[in-house]
C-alpha cells in the first residue's frame, strides 16, 4: 500500500476515477450507439444529406474544447495569483492545469480534423481563423511547458511561466469570438448552443459529454497537482537534507578542531 504522504491517490480520487470511467463508457454508448446519425432529406432534391456519422464526434470535440478553455483560464488565474502571492500552491496549480489543458487542446485539434475530412472535405485549412488561433493556443502552451523545464532557478522559472500563461490566455477570446468576428475567414460553424439549434437526445448526449469530460478534467488535475506538490516537497526535502548534512559536517570539523586544540595544549 502506498504511503499516504507520497501517493497521488486517495479514497475520494479513486471514487472519482471509477465514476469517470463509468461516465466515459456511458458517454461512448450514447455518442456511438444510442443517438442517431445526422441524416436529413433535402426538400428539393429528395436526397439524404447532413453530417451522417461524423456528427458523433461532436459529443467529444465540443466538451473537450470547453474544458480546454477552463484549463487554460485556471492556469491564468493561478499564474496571476502566484505573481501576487508567490505561494507554491498557485504555481503547482498553474503548471498542472496547463499540462491538462494542452492535452485537451491537442485532442480538440485531432478530433476536429477527423470531423473536418468528411464534413468540410478537408483535414485542415491553413488560414482558417478558428483553426489557426486554436493551433496558436496549443503551440503557446507547448512553449509554456518547455519553458518550465529550462530555467535553473525554480522561482524565476515559475515567474516567467506565469507571465507566458497570462499572455497566451489572451488567445482564448480570439478563438471563441472568431466565428462571429471573422465569419468570412473561417469554415467553422457558429455556436449551436447559443442559438439552441439542438434538441432531444442529441442535446442530452452533448450535456453528458460536458459532465463526463468535466470529471476527466477534475481527476487529471487532482493527480497532476499532487505529482507537482510531491515534486516540490521532494525538492525542499533534498535541500533541507543537504543543509543538515553540511551543518553536521561543519559541526564534526569544529569538534575535531576543538579536540585537536585541546590535545595540542596538553
Amino acid at each position: 500500500m502506498a504511503d499516504r504522504n507520497t501517493s497521488t491517490s486517495s479514497s475520494g480520487s479513486r471514487l472519482l476515477g471509477v465514476t469517470t470511467l463509468v461516465g466515459l463508457v456511458g458517454l461512448l454508448l450514447f455518442a456511438f450507439v444510442l443517438t442517431e446519425p445526422d441524416v436529413r432529406l433535402h426538400p428539393t432534391t429528395g436526397e439524404e444529406f447532413g453530417q451522417f456519422d461524423a456528427v458523433r464526434l461532436l459529443y467529444l470535440h465540443v466538451p473537450m474544447a470547453v474544458l480546454t478553455y477552463v484549463a487554460f483560464l485556471t492556469c491564468a488565474v493561478a499564474s496571476a495569483t502566484y505573481l501576487v502571492k508567490r505561494g507554491p500552491w498557485w504555481d503547482v496549480t498553474a503548471h498542472a492545469s496547463a499540462e491538462v489543458g494542452t492535452v485537451f487542446c491537442g485532442l480538440v485539434l485531432v478530433t476536429g480534423s477527423i470531423w473536418g475530412r468528411p464534413v468540410w472535405n478537408t483535414w485542415w485549412e491553413w488560414g482558417d481563423v478558428r483553426l489557426m488561433t486554436t493551433l496558436v493556443l496549443f503551440l503557446l502552451f507547448t512553449g509554456y511547458l518547455a519553458l518550465r523545464r529550462t530555467a535553473a532557478d525554480p522561482q524565476r522559472q515559475a515567474r516567467r511561466a506565469a507571465i507566458v500563461a497570462l499572455v497566451a490566455v489572451l488567445d482564448i477570446p480570439l478563438i471563441n469570438r472568431s466565428v462571429e468576428w471573422w465569419e468570412n475567414r473561417t469554415l467553422h460553424q457558429q455556436s449551436t448552443l447559443a442559438e439552441l439549434k439542438i434538441e432531444d437526445l442529441t442535446l442530452f448526449t452533448l450535456m453528458l459529454g460536458f459532465v463526463v469530460f468535466g470529471m476527466v478534467f477534475a481527476w487529471l488535475m487532482l493527480h497532476r497537482f499532487r505529482v507537482g506538490w510531491l515534486e516540490q516537497a521532494l525538492a525542499r526535502y533534498e535541500v533541507e537534507t543537504a543543509i543538515a548534512e553540511r551543518h553536521a559536517e561543519i559541526e564534526t570539523l569544529d569538534l575535531d578542531a576543538a579536540v585537536g586544540e585541546t590535545g595540542g595544549g596538553t
Binding site: R40, T44, Q51, A146, L187, Q189, T192, E195, G264
Partner: protein, 181 residues
C-alpha cells in the same frame, strides 16, 4: 578564520569550504527544452504569418465577388455561396468538371469546378471555392435550371463545405437563396 586539522602534521590548516558532493547542484539548463521552445516560437510566427499575411484566405460572398469582378481580374480568390439545384458533369480542358450555380443575396454566379464536388455537396449547403473569374460561358451551362448566364464563370479547383450549426434533424433549415430554394 575557521581552521581544519592537517591529518599528517596534526597542525591546524585552513578549512576547505568547497561544497561537498551531497549538496544539491543547481539544475543545469536542458538544451532539448530550449530547442523545443525555439521550435515553438518559430511555429507560432509561421502560423501567424500564414493566417494574417494571405489576403486570398478571405471569403468573398458571391455578390461581393460579382461586384469586384473587374478589380479581381484573373486573381485567385475564395468565394462562399449557396449552390442552387442542378449540377452538370462535364469536361473542361481535358479534365473532369462539374458546373453549377452559386447564390448569395439573390446574386448568382456560374461555376465550373475541376474535379469531384465535396462528398456533402448539396443545394442549400454553402460551399467555399477557390479559383478565378473567366470570361465566357462554362460547358453545360444550358443544363442548369437557375444559371446566371452573364458571360462570366468562376473556374475553381478547391472546394470545402461550410456546414451549418443546426442539429435539429428534419427541422433544420437550409440556406435559402435565389429562385431555386
Amino acid at each position: 578564520m575557521v581552521e581544519d586539522m592537517d591529518e599528517e602534521s596534526g597542525e591546524a590548516g585552513p578549512l576547505d569550504l568547497t561544497p561537498s558532493a551531497s549538496r544539491p547542484q543547481q539544475r543545469p539548463r536542458r538544451p532539448m527544452s530550449i530547442v523545443v521552445l525555439l521550435v515553438v516560437v518559430a511555429a507560432v510566427v509561421f502560423v501567424l504569418l500564414r493566417t494574417l499575411g494571405d489576403a486570398s484566405l478571405f471569403f468573398y460572398e458571391v455578390d461581393e465577388a460579382v461586384a469586384a469582378r473587374s478589380e479581381l481580374g484573373a486573381e485567385r480568390f475564395r468565394v462562399v455561396g449557396t449552390p442552387q439545384p442542378g449540377l452538370v458533369e462535364t469536361r473542361l480542358d481535358g479534365q473532369a468538371a462539374v458546373v453549377f450555380t452559386l447564390c448569395v443575396a439573390d446574386v448568382l454566379a456560374d461555376v465550373a469546378h475541376l474535379g469531384d464536388p465535396a462528398e456533402l455537396f448539396q443545394p442549400g449547403v454553402p460551399v467555399v471555392l477557390q479559383g478565378s473569374w473567366v470570361a465566357g460561358d462554362p460547358p453545360g451551362l444550358h443544363g442548369l435550371p437557375f444559371a446566371a448566364g452573364d458571360g462570366w464563370y468562376l473556374r475553381t479547383d478547391h472546394m470545402v463545405v461550410k456546414h451549418d450549426n443546426d442539429y435539429r434533424g428534419d427541422e433544420a433549415e437550409l440556406e435559402s437563396c435565389g429562385a431555386g430554394s
